[in-house]
Symmetry: C2
Subunit: 396 residues, 2 copies
């Protein structure tokens, strides 16, 4: 069971978590993974920003201190309920990681030590987000890293399931703030969850979903404030019914960059995206086509809006190397995606999407597809109408 920062934000909420654990421990032993109180990690990050901290070992040391408080408090509340509980920090298991501070990878978790603890205790309350490297220094897994702790430990223990408690009731067919008819999804495949980057990432750290998929560990995302079942994220084979389209997701923070008149020679794309990567700019959609005469190519791709200015500057500075004719960028675009395992065996899903957008007079600026996702780029001002009409047409 993993509880995020909003679920342990104060003493009252920690007592609520203890109540949930109390009901569950009647049936089996539990590892509870906790984040820091919500706001705490932001406060610590602010301190680090104030001193312009550049040292990763110190950053991780400071940022991992908040979990120490929540695990101690929850374990103490559980003990007052006569539950045999033990609080543990990452290094006390230990969760061994590599040397990559601030985004460390887990190398090993000592299952035997956990088995030993479970001989004596019924609940282990484990600090999320952190491990220890071979030098004995504390490392962290990046923001949202407590999800990764929970999935990793559940995988090692071959747990039946990993329940991720949060402040939403699960994963929805689209953002309920835009479409009031949005419904909680009961089952999703790992692949669908991963494709829902824009909506899903708010709920689960992407990395934790990848890890769960690799270990075939079923997840449940649910609310710590209601008693309702949440969204199960499971192996595709176990999906009771494969919905053709499971969800409509969107992202408004996109900028479109179009480079026209590039000589159609090998290595030019590699140069463009090499430059982006060197400048730590994440590229999302990429669409390339060759012009009629077969001599020049056009490339369109999207970057996060915060990276727009630096991406544009880098491309302008390198016009001689890239040999393109013109550069056009647009900050007012939105990416709309329909996602669903069912579309692999179903024809006409894309057609329905394009037709629906056309019926609403929305122009499609670029298209990119995977086996379970179709994404289009449109003018940002049409985001809401696009999401609502697609949510309708796929009967979500």
């Amino acid at each position: 069971m993993k509880f995020g920062g909003t679920s342990v934000a104060n003493i009252e909420k920690i007592k609520n978590v203890a109540h949930i654990v109390e009901k569950e421990v009647k049936f089996h032993k539990i590892i509870v993974v906790l984040s820091a109180m919500s706001g705490e990690t932001n406060k610590l990050q602010k301190y680090l920003d104030e001193i312009h901290s550049e040292s990763s070992i110190e950053n991780d040391l400071v940022l991992t201190s908040g979990e120490q408080v929540t695990i101690g408090l929850l374990s103490s509340v559980l003990k007052r309920k006569k539950i045999n509980s033990l609080p543990l920090l990452g290094w006390q298991i230990p969760i061994i990681t590599d040397e990559n501070y601030e985004k460390a990878k887990i190398l090993n978790i000592d299952k035997k030590r956990i088995d030993l603890f479970f001989k004596q205790f019924d609940v282990i309350v484990l600090a999320g987000f952190q491990g220890v490297n071979s030098k004995g220094f504390i490392t962290s897994f990046g923001r949202g890293g407590s999800d990764t702790t929970a999935v990793a430990i559940a995988s090692v223990l071959k747990a039946e399931r990993c329940d991720i408690y949060t402040d939403v009731e699960g994963v929805f067919t689209t953002d309920p703030n835009i479409e009031v008819k949005a419904k909680k999804i009961s089952q999703l495949s790992f692949e669908e969850m991963l494709e829902m980057a824009s909506m899903g990432a708010k709920v689960l750290q992407t990395r934790s979903v990848e890890l769960a998929m690799k270990n075939n560990l079923s997840l449940q995302v649910l609310s710590s404030l209601t008693k309702k079942e949440g969204t199960y994220i499971i192996d595709e084979k176990n999906l009771v019914e494969k919905e053709i389209v499971s969800a409509v997701s969107f992202s408004k923070n996109e900028s479109k960059i179009t480079i026209s008149g590039i000589p159609d020679q090998p290595g030019i794309s590699a140069k463009i995206f090499g430059l982006m990567s060197q400048n730590k700019i994440n590229v999302d959609m990429i669409v390339q086509n060759i012009s009629q005469d077969g001599i020049f190519a056009n490339i369109t791709f999207t970057v996060s809006s915060k990276d727009h200015d630096i991406a544009k500057l880098v491309l302008e500075e390198n016009i001689k190397i890239l040999k393109y004719k013109s550069l056009h960028t647009d900050k007012n675009v939105s990416k709309i995606s329909v996602i669903g395992m069912g579309m692999m065996s179903q024809t006409g899903v894309a057609e329905k999407m394009f037709k629906t957008l056309a019926n609403n007079s929305i122009n499609i600026q670029a298209i990119s597809t995977s086996e379970i996702k179709i994404s289009v780029l449109i003018d940002e001002k049409f985001t809401n109408i696009a999401v609502k009409s697609l949510h309708d047409v796929y009967n979500l």
Copy 2:
């Protein structure tokens, strides 16, 4: 160098500490021991109080989290100043303690590991107040325990001196709030510092002074905000000049308890103080005398005013066992002490004290003496006049 909570209360103050360390590291390698930001440990204690935490392992885990933040921040600031710094928690050295959570005793500090760290780093920024026991769980040294960390580590390293930076300029001849003529003391013996419980304990954890005395480690108490020398606390043999009286201290939070008409039999005092100890009441001054007829004894002792009511109740409930005739208590008393190594070889110190109080028409209710301290109990309302006149008469 040890810096308390007020010296690392915010980013600006942490930068000031870095500045002090920067000047010192030009001459030698340093261990810097830090407390949590002032207010932080109180906030954590409040959380524990809210959940009525009764579990020591959890209490220590929660309470030791604040130092993790300050050591990370200071070390990062030092690195930006190109100082080769490493932040370490208690378990990372490790500082091995016994199993007594909340007041753990240090069993061992691995000097070889510290030597190894010093081959690579010029400054070690160490979390105060905490160690780790043989089970691998975090233990704490009680409030003010960072002083103990600093003294213990300095002793193990056979450091030349341990500088305790705080928010006062040193130890004063008396409380400057009562006597504006109070002066900073330049040198004190360990024994004098220990006898100054009421004034000294605000500056240094008593336990750390005992540890320094045992290891003959010189201490300096000084302010992190001025560049002035502080008060040196050193071996008696090294005192340049033994002042007859070094300081006048006082404590207003005393209550006097007088038990009269106790049968003069062996074991009665043991019973009385056994009862106090069972009820966790600390007893300070004890004065006992036998009445003229040699059959009955009177015992007067003091307890902290907060313990007055429970002490009185316990004694009343046990009147049949203790067989005393009458009980009298007084919450309005004050303990005044004059302290000084010089009084061992000087006659007339006590006489001067009693005469001075008499000249001010202050009645002495009880007297207790040690080789370097004379304490008297007086009516609380005479505290200020007593302190001022004694401060004058001993030329402080």
